[in-house]
Symmetry: C2
DNA sequence: AATGAAAGTGTTTATCC
DNA sequence: GGATAAACACTTTCATT
């Protein structure tokens, strides 16, 4: 899964990556046309990108709102002294936490939570309050929805 | 694009969604086998899920680290009085910001940034410092990589 | 809404450059 | 590393229920 061999990010590979980021169900045939290659050549390049760990996987984006989670929040979590491990375990066991990062600074964890409504907040925060101080910010708007950065350097 | 008509989230649709979230390149034929339906039936269900806004799209997950962005950070941004609009515009124009949410509380924005190394931080933060107070947390580890929450209710 | 079968497309393998 | 072509697999359309 992890990168071992390197793979060049030439123009063709960037076209392939950009196309797959925009629509991961794009056919090899279409990718081949766009990259100016044959379908088997594109297949092989994708295989190498996967093996090198550049492509991690292919996922359908599902609307949490459409599933019934009308709200999202970002919670900063500062574990009480000696409680770091317990906090980490508690976070992992809360299925409404859809993402969590361990970070530098006073707040050891920053988590993204989905909620059916504001009433769901207590259910998430209460179990944490014996282990940590928390600070919650409800998301009003996705100012910048998840997007790809440019290719660095060249 | 946006949800207008409703669509039921029955067992078959959940199987389809789960399979597409795990691998969005899964063939209709395979999805059909798993859901116990024919391929055309699965095609039609996916079309409805897309139309209802449940499925937003299909994307390849690309490793930013493999592209040369070895670091990620989460930046909280509190605009100076009267500078909110300018801050929002500045954020949008920074391509290294891969996600940004407007939130309740003192920090109006919470952004996720990719960096080649710590030296890149100034290039992101300096342009903001005339418009806002910022607070930066470097990500040490993805404690919980992006994951789907359970289906709410029944 | 779903199926099955046929027609149309896309993918894979083998061979060659 | 890439191209071509034939064999194979998948997707779509359509008639039917």
């Amino acid at each position: 899964m992890t990168s071992v061999r390197k793979v060049s990010l030439d123009a063709a590979n960037r076209l392939i990556l950009d196309a797959l980021m925009a629509d991961s169900r794009t056919s090899l045939r279409t990718l081949a046309e766009q990259a100016g290659l044959s379908a088997p050549a594109v297949r092989e390049r994708i295989r190498q990108l996967e093996e090198a760990g550049v492509i991690l996987g292919y996922t359908a984006q599902v609307s949490w709102a459409a599933l019934g989670y009308g709200l999202e929040a970002i919670v900063r979590i500062e574990p009480l002294p000696g409680r770091l491990r317990e906090v980490e375990r508690a976070l992992r066991e809360m299925p409404q936490i859809v993402q969590c990062d361990a970070v530098t600074g006073d707040d050891c964890f920053i988590a993204r939570v989905v909620l059916r409504d504001v009433g769901d907040l207590d259910g998430v925060l209460d179990p944490l309050h014996v282990l940590a101080r928390t600070s919650t910010a409800v998301i009003k708007k996705a100012t910048i929805p998840l997007r790809a950065p440019p290719y660095p350097d060249g």
